[in-house]
């Protein structure tokens, strides 16, 4: 994390309320979180629980399947867990919700004096030309116009931030996954869209379309041709945020459908959960190996 780019005003507040997490810095955050290195951010409450349980099984060698981690603090907005060296949190759908989460997690880390964290975005995603169940490590993040920049409006003015992620970290996870797991691990670009339907070029929304099926097909083909393997609604803001503060970040897209076959998700919830669990398992193992090598 680059301290010069951090906002110092929140550090000077008498009490800093992390409103959406439901905590403030009068809790002994340093005591509670000083062993934490990783923040794993996902979309839904269910997935946050699956990731936390998978991490707990791996970190603490729990053999039983019949247990569940408990979310901490205010569960009104996000579900927040701590398991070993990781916190896991559901950030909701879309970039606006995810940015709120990223801001408050970062503030929490700074209060806890964690200055060199690794952020991981792990979530279900649409796939383009890759098998359902594959785990795509996104090395390049684009907006829906194929530009590698995140746009943020601040005090009425548009600013653009780069979206490249840590190549070294990405390669380390990729190599770990290929060498030590049986999952299908791929590298590919991701598009971060502001909407599930129009901005992800779907034909199955409720609103009247302003594009044809042919244009939809051509757009998806263009995506594929420039190396896009996944679409989601958070990656662009996640990458933009990590770049602004120079936080090391990694994104894994757990592929739950193939947009060249259908705009709809066809697999059931049990299969969806298995794919998330696989992605969580990859990161749990990677985090364990990372500790062995570096700490």
């Amino acid at each position: 994390m680059n301290f010069d780019k951090l906002n110092h005003e929140f550090l000077n507040l008498p009490v800093d309320y992390l409103y959406h997490l439901g905590i403030d810095n009068t809790l002994h955050l340093e005591e509670l979180y000083r062993d934490v290195k990783f923040a794993v951010i996902t979309q839904t409450n269910e997935d946050a629980m699956i990731i936390s349980n998978t991490f707990a099984k791996e970190f603490y060698n729990i053999e039983e399947n019949d247990f569940s981690c408990t979310p901490l603090y205010k569960t009104e907005r996000f579900h927040f867990y701590k398991v070993g060296k990781a916190i896991i949190i559901s950030a909701g759908i879309g970039m606006p919700s995810t940015l709120i989460c990223l801001n408050e997690i970062t503030k929490l880390f700074v209060h806890a004096k964690i200055y060199d964290p690794i952020f991981i975005y792990l979530s279900a995603a649409d796939g383009l030309n890759c098998p359902i169940g594959s785990l795509v490590l996104n090395d390049k993040i684009l907006n829906s116009k194929f530009e590698d920049k995140f746009t943020s409006v601040e005090c009425g003015i548009e600013y653009y931030y780069p979206t490249h992620l840590d190549t070294e970290l990405n390669n380390a996870i990729y190599n770990y996954g290929v060498n030590y797991t049986d999952y299908i691990i791929l590298n590919g670009s991701s598009i971060g869209a502001y909407d599930f339907y129009d901005e992800q070029a779907r034909l199955d929304g409720f609103l009247e379309l302003n594009y044809t099926k042919e244009e939809h097909d051509a757009y998806l083909n263009n995506c594929k041709d420039i190396g896009v393997k996944s679409l989601n609604m958070e990656s662009l803001a996640f990458a933009g945020f990590c770049n602004q503060l120079e936080i090391r970040g990694s994104i894994v897209s757990a592929i739950i459908n193939d947009r060249f076959i259908c705009d709809k998700v066809l697999i059931d919830i049990v299969e969806q959960n298995t794919i998330i669990r696989n992605a969580a398992h990859l990161y749990a193992r990677f985090i364990l190996s990372y500790n062995d090598q570096n700490d």
């Binding site: 801001n103 943020s152 129009d198 070029a201």
Partner: protein
């Protein structure tokens, strides 16, 4: 209602709706038949609280004995039903709201509903407005101060109009008692794509590009444009409903006066009370004669 021509009953019946984790079979769709009002809030807790209040007002059920059941199988949203009213959560921000709106509108359409009103009950930061006040939105602006909502479809930008339904706003105002203990105002709103930098706060994680002086100038400009509050969903809400031709209103409580503070420091009890003002305004409308709604004759106490 205006809908996507490619979306039809034949293809949709018995299909799987991913974002609700729900199969669109007859049994599930029947639960959504004969709906008139869709009341939406960001938080699942507030949606449950409102469902309890509706159960009390419309059915005479004491909230102590009533816990609503989510009609869908995903934790992404909750959807509670009381008579012809849905109390729904949409999460935070336009992206989450639009996901809810597309999916819910599909379900409601397939369940045979054609005459609906959508109302968002929100919380917001006020621009020189006292916390506890309630704002009804006239027109929603992007944080660039352009009215409308920009969607990039297949990479091409389109800006959709974001004027709320004037008649619905007037009906809601007409249903309010004269002795309300808080201000109810009509004005414009900004929907930001973030809580921190996009809303010109100084308490986020990233060092802002703007100064306190820039913020003051921006807020002064907002006042000249009759922009009364900043929240995160009004543009997506209005754009969706205008495209679908569904009457829409947004009623938001003010939790903080942004001219004075960035942080939401009111005590939890106070915040709950402020947020409840917006619910009360909408409940007054739902239970008014104007709404065509019958209220419970056997309300306890």
């Amino acid at each position: 209602m205006i809908k996507n021509k490619l979306f039809n009953e034949n293809d949709s019946l018995n299909s799987y709706l991913y974002n609700f984790n729900l199969t669109l079979n007859k049994e599930n769709l029947d639960k959504f038949a004969n709906i008139k009002y869709v009341l939406m809030q960001g938080s699942q807790f507030r949606a449950e609280l409102l469902a309890q209040k509706l159960a009390y007002k419309l059915l005479g059920v004491d909230p102590i004995f009533f816990k609503p059941i989510n009609l869908i199988n995903s934790s992404k949203f909750v959807i509670y039903r009381i008579k012809n009213v849905l109390s729904v959560s949409h999460g935070m921000g336009n992206t989450s709201l639009l996901t809810l709106l597309h999916n819910l509108s599909k379900v409601l359409y397939l369940a045979g509903n054609r005459d609906l009103e959508y109302i968002r009950i929100g919380t917001s930061g006020g621009i020189g407005i006292k916390p506890g006040s309630v704002v009804l939105t006239k027109e929603a602006y992007m944080p660039t101060l352009i009215p409308g909502y920009k969607i990039s479809a297949l990479g091409k930008d389109i800006i959709y109009p974001t004027i709320m339904n004037t008649q619905l706003n007037l009906r809601i105002i007409a249903a309010q008692p004269e002795n309300a203990t808080y201000n109810i105002l009509i004005g414009n709103s900004i929907a930001a794509d973030d809580f921190y930098l996009s809303q010109v706060r100084f308490d986020g994680a990233i060092k802002p590009n703007y100064t306190h002086d820039d913020k003051q100038k921006y807020f002064d400009k907002l006042k000249t444009m009759d922009i009364l509050n900043i929240e995160m969903e009004s543009t997506g809400l209005a754009a969706f409903c205008n495209r679908a031709n569904i009457p829409v209103a947004m009623v938001a409580a003010v939790l903080v006066n942004r001219m004075k503070s960035d942080q939401i420091t009111a005590t939890t009890d106070e915040l709950v009370r402020y947020a409840e003002h917006a619910q009360e305004v909408v409940l007054n409308y739902i239970t008014s004669k104007d709404s065509g709604q019958s209220i419970a004759s056997n309300i306890p106490r």
